[in-house]
Subunit: 501 residues, 2 copies
């Protein structure tokens, strides 16, 4: 499966300028059809528009054509063709990003990878499996049924037991394992529980990156994995990933606890982690979110900062862990613990978190939702959340909050009227400010606080929306370093041009 | 601490050829002294020779000068100076590498980073700490004493409870947290339990790479962490790393089990991992190693393939986990389990593993030791070990084996007479073949086995010794990709030239 063939493209054609948009060369679409077959190429406006935007507010920028490659070789041939003709390439998964990453701002060809969905090389002894980019989380875990292993659901920020409607939920529902733009596969306190050994396909006129594969240790040359995972489609295509699998937990128990304040709920989370209680997801809902969920699905919970948490362990160890968690919850003023151990019970419990997006939308019928995404050190989370709530109030915005609190990561689900330009402007201003709050609250975290130096804490990536913030975070020299790497791997700036850098 | 200052070096001086070795420019040593002070620069032959080799068999290649920078700013100034004068730079930690990574094959300045040993920014809530490259594992865990957190000892392949003599043990004893060449920080089944957010210092005339810091999630531009960790000093200096800490386990129990065969011992390991028993290190010793340890320290164990394993958990859960482990050991024909729970008992138990290197050396007094390092998928480990033992016998070599078996990683501790050129040649031929055995045993693993495609499975890096194997693994195109990245970040090939690529 390795992509080792040089595409044989040399020459020194001029670099496409950053905002240019040229028509496709003559007979180019026919050449695409020759590679993947006519049914796998479309230039219909409806299809192009569908592929020209994600879930964000960025204006639709349709590609000139959409192709559905179905094998690595086809990706390679298509990329060679695009590269020869200097046509931009935009990788596409489910289109559920939040930063305009798939918008074809310079036109070109959208590579829809959803039909590359092979699951291969499952090794139970090595705890590994290879997946193509179109494999969804649900499809993978169905494939693994009966093996005793799983790909932990919550690495995508999705609590176990939850059945997401694919493609409806921003990056949480971006159920393709590799994501649209190879965004960071974040989890609820567990992103260190898996690894991605991606094979990068052709990128402009380059070809290969290597993969650690199922070996747990590797030091053969530079490791390009983290460089590609997070490059948002600007360096190449990931055509296959090797994922680390994990044993299915023998026993699982989930619970909900209400706290007197967000601060208390976060303190509880930190203490649970410090006590090494093997908690899988810990999700925070603020009182506005809990209220919205109450109105939406009526579970009748008190309107308070609320934690949903789930423990994974053996039958033998679970009781002790539950007791430990209960003690810590009580110490932080939490209440309302009742454990759900059966799958159906847990499903009902997580349903509240599952319906959060719809519950938020239901707060203002007819309005549009926009989910922000911020990640700060856990120790900063209470202050940032309190400041954010104050800012929401000052801005006159509706924005219930949910958070993968074990990671210091939270979302404001902003509900606004897109017909009201003043409100849309307030949303824009608020999200820019929120993006900067990784830097600290308006007054600053204080001198010498290095955690305070980053305005781009969003796990959703940079895309179109956060490029200005990226410059603030890295500085001109830092950005120049990234640009040198981009130029080294994609000298004609054909991979998802106009994004990230 | 971020290194964001451009060093302002432009120009297009000719690239230093791959094997050239030029004398230092006039007054260059004085310029070094002006940056770090005279006591922190040495050109004494003894010092240069000490810094010109590691624990491997590669011929000593002394640098022209050794400097001991003591702050990031000094690293930056020294690098700017070297870069202006086109003098190669070689980062140095403890000199315990195994692939000739520190050998100054093109001369230049050795940067000994051992005096940069600050531990800062400890955050108990964020489970994170920042360390400079001279911080040792022992110093870090001493610093953490009383906090309830630790940096898991076994991420360096060292079982807990063991007190290594620093610098005597190849990469295992390479106790500096960042290692000499930022080698992969491998562990016994647990390298996914920590993260490194390194800040790269000046590299030739470039300056900066950015760090994820203590935030668990980050997607601001390309993530250069894994690119730098593993670059063996060829892309830049790591001047600080942010490490993820872990809660100290409440309870720990260790045991030894003897098995009828290596195959049975490995099968046991896989089943323990599949059962999600929270085992920390699992170490395999083959019967030759156990015999050598018996002669050396006399614990009187049966000469059989032996597993040392340690469980970490809560007091509540440990008993159940011990029972589970015992059942799996027995199912695989293992015997001899007795649990050591107190630190002193565990120390005695691990002492056998601790003394393995010396025990191996004691097999042939007056001879020299050389440790090889191979990593294969766990499922392949029994076959590779059996083949390796056969090859050792056919080659007439003494090579007891120890393995971090949870990772599919093992070492042959080759004991040979350096005065015997024929034997040294047999060692060389054997190690080259062993390096290739990631590819599979001489007959091959069979068609279509993608795990069989890699001859550089060594976690110890590429260095000087495995460059030919790297070409075999990546192919010319794969290597070209890495070269483009190297050229983008180090255009004058001044960072540890002659290594890796």
């Amino acid at each position: 499966m390795a992509l080792r063939r040089v595409l044989g493209l040399g020459g020194a054609l001029g670099r496409r300028s950053c905002c240019s948009k040229r028509p496709l060369p003559p007979n180019f679409v026919e050449a695409l059809r020759a590679v993947v077959g006519a049914p796998n190429v479309s230039t219909a406006m409806a299809v192009r528009e569908q592929h020209g935007h994600d879930e964000s507010m960025h204006t639709c920028a349709p590609p000139d054509a959409v192709v559905w490659p179905q094998a690595v070789g086809q990706v390679q041939e298509l990329a060679a063709l695009c590269s020869r003709c200097r046509v931009p390439m935009v990788p596409f998964g489910t289109g559920t990003g939040l930063e305009g990453g798939v918008n074809a701002v310079q036109g070109g060809v959208c590579f829809d990878l959803s039909r590359m969905d092979a699951i291969t090389e499952l090794s139970l002894e090595d705890f590994s499996v290879a997946v193509e980019p179109g494999v969804t989380r649900k499809a993978l875990n169905s494939h693994l049924r009966g093996t005793g292993l799983w790909f932990p659901v919550d690495v995508l920020g999705v609590p176990p037991g939850v059945q997401w409607s694919q493609g409806c939920w921003g990056p949480l529902g971006c159920a393709m394992v590799l994501g649209v733009h190879q965004e960071y596969p974040w989890g609820s306190g567990c992103q260190d529980r898996w690894e991605l050994g991606g094979q990068a396909g052709p990128c402009g006129d380059r070809t290969d990156a290597h993969s650690p594969g199922p070996r747990r240790k590797r030091a053969a040359g530079y490791d390009l994995t983290s460089l590609f995972v997070g490059s948002e489609g600007t360096l190449g295509f990931l055509t296959q990933a090797t994922l680390r699998l994990h044993p299915l937990p023998e026993a699982t128990a989930a619970t909900i606890a209400a706290f007197p304040s967000v601060r208390a709920a976060v303190a509880c989370t930190v203490q649970v982690l410090q006590a090494a209680v093997p908690v899988a997801p810990i999700e925070l809902l603020d009182e506005v979110m809990v209220g919205a969920c109450g109105c939406f699905s009526g579970p009748g919970l008190p309107m308070a900062a609320t934690l949903l948490l789930e423990l994974h362990g053996s039958w033998h160890s679970l009781a002790g862990q539950q007791q430990q968690a209960e003690e810590i919850v009580r110490l932080n003023g939490g209440s309302g613990l009742a454990w759900a151990e059966e799958p159906e019970e847990r499903g009902r419990l997580w349903a509240m978190r599952h319906s959060a997006w719809y519950a938020a939308l239901a707060l203002r019928p007819g309005c549009q939702g926009y989910s922000t995404d911020v990640c700060v050190p856990i120790s900063r989370l209470p202050d940032v959340v309190v400041e954010t709530k104050r800012d929401l109030q000052d801005s006159g915005l509706t924005g219930p909050m949910v958070g993968h609190v074990g990671d210091g990561n939270f979302h404001c689900l902003l509900i606004f009227d897109p017909q009201d330009p003043a409100e849309a402007q307030r949303v824009h201003t608020f999200t820019q400010r929120l993006g900067r709050w990784g830097q600290g609250p308006p007054g600053g975290w204080g001198q010498g606080d290095r955690w305070g130096d980053s305005p781009v804490p969003s796990p959703d990536g940079v895309g179109l929306g956060k490029r200005a913030l990226l410059l603030e975070e890295l500085g001109q020299e830092g950005l120049d370093t990234l640009r040198r790497i981009k130029a080294a791997l994609d000298p004609h700036n054909l991979m998802n041009p106009g994004k990230v850098l």
